[in-house]
Amino acid sequence: MRLFSVIKPGLFTTVQDLGRYGYLRFGVPISGAMDQFSLVAANVLVGNKPDDACLETTIVGPELQALGETQVAVTGANCSPRINGEDVPMWRTLQLQKDDTVSFGMMPTGCRAYLSIRGGVNTPLVLGSRSTYVRGGFGGLEGRRLRGDDVIEGFDVLPMDTGYSMPKQLVPQFSDHVKVRAVLGPQAEMFTGRGVDVFFSGLFRVSADADRMGYRLEGLRVELEGKADIVSDALLPGAVQIPKDGKPIIIMRDAQTTGGYPKIAVAIAADLSVLGQLKPRCSVTFFKVTLREAQERAREFFKLLKDLSSMLLRDR
């Protein structure tokens, strides 16, 4: 079912769901929304399943025209969404009529916004997911970012009879400086005491080399005890690798699945969505937490995602 025609594709807009799990051992990255919290929020605001596919848009949003009546929601980075040129709120259900246009402004803070569509974006499931993995050329719309002549397909579902909004206290605030909690990584012992101290107290700036695969950071050198290389082993999003130059690389969702640099730390699952909203020139400071605390926060976070639909405010 044709739901939208793409007038302008935006800078880098892809179809994403919560990700493609179970294929890391074949070298297939997890992919999926960089900000999982915002994706789930966008979905539940239009009555979708938490893991339905949405559009993830980066820094400059697309312009779309509705081909029929539908409901949408916009979450993630503040992107000043508009319907037919009129400003509309984020983090709530929005009603669209045929021929309505949806457009976006700049994103002063945060890097990625999510547009959910009632019923979810319909692209073929590839290895169990609709997430686009551009480097591998599969998932989403033919494995690529949106183009000007694309049509977004959806599912034939009944409209919701009412709208919802997100309680204010649950709407994340995005900032150019973030604090990210992390636990010591599997190769933390390869670093000097000073190296570990610098990592867990220093201010690191996101370089221009930052995308869905990962972010290279600039800052004080994180000192290794001896050699900088290890025999490659597995990587997961949130892992922080330190190559010979001492500059951290944060592994994100489209990164390769194995790597040969020592991992000093791993960001906690609950803070991955915060990392997913960083863009070049933002800064980040890492805070060390114990594994026990990280697991506690992970359980809270995943429970929040699960319960989010029941926490929404119903329109009067």
Binding site: F26, G27, L127, V183, P186, I230, A239, A269
Partner: protein, 227 residues
């Protein structure tokens, strides 16, 4: 060496069996992988065997790091030497060596004072173990090549290596499943499709399998390609 158990963030565990590229270590990795799969441990989501360690991704809502380590250590105690010797499938990979398909074959030969034919013979007479898959989807890290043809990576990596390219990097050999940037010494090309996201599983190779390269002529390569 007993296994080391290391947390990898709050949703994964690394079972480290060593820190070198070594057949015995990798055999243990695959044996651990199979034992954990068989035990169907509650909360385990997926396993990633690599050269020297096994990553166990789990759901922190269903289990904790401590619980999981406890279960896996139990399995370690029961891992038998025979489990460690289990061999995977054997896959023959036809390769046209040299020329436009293997632009670095001449360099590899020159580097070791060999003829191109000798390099081809040394590369194709061995059976290689699939140590792991990674780098790009479906890329098999195979080892180990004979010392006489072990060659360092290119000084300047190529921006584009064609799909199917067979390369050497130090004692490893590998196959590019798709066009990708890369610094391996490219000595040939195969027609075998190593990654297809529309197939289940998406790649014909798994850690622990065996690969043997079979030299073919350009005419055969073209016939196979046409099929």
């Amino acid at each position: 060496m007993p296994a080391r158990y290391l947390p990898f963030g709050d949703a994964a565990l690394v079972v480290e069996l060593g820190d070198t590229i070594n057949l015995e270590i990798n055999r243990k990795v695959v044996a651990f992988n199979d034992a954990i799969l068989k035990a169907e441990i509650h909360g385990v989501e997926e396993l990633v065997p690599t050269y020297r360690s096994l990553l166990v991704r789990y759901d922190p809502l269903k289990t904790s790091y401590e619980q999981l380590v406890f279960r896996v250590k139990d399995l370690e105690a029961t891992l038998e030497v025979s489990d460690v010797k289990v061999v995977g499938r054997k896959v023959t990979v036809p390769v046209v060596y040299g020329g436009e398909y293997g632009p670095d074959l001449g360099q590899v030969a020159k580097c070791h004072g060999l003829t191109e034919e000798q390099v081809v013979r040394l590369h194709s007479e061995r059976e290689y173990r699939v140590y792991m898959l990674g780098f790009v989807a479906g890329f098999p890290y195979l080892g180990e090549v004979a010392d006489q043809i072990a060659t360092p990576r290119l000084e300047t990596p190529r921006l584009k290596v064609p799909a199917g390219s067979v390369g050497i990097a130090e004692k490893q050999t590998g196959i590019y499943p798709c066009e990708a940037p890369g610094g391996w010494q490219i000595i040939g090309r195969t027609t075998i499709k190593l990654f297809d996201p529309l197939q289940q599983p998406p790649t014909p190779l798994s850690s622990g399998d065996t690969v043997k390269f079979k030299p073919i002529l350009e005419a055969e390569y073209k016939t196979l390609l046409g099929k």
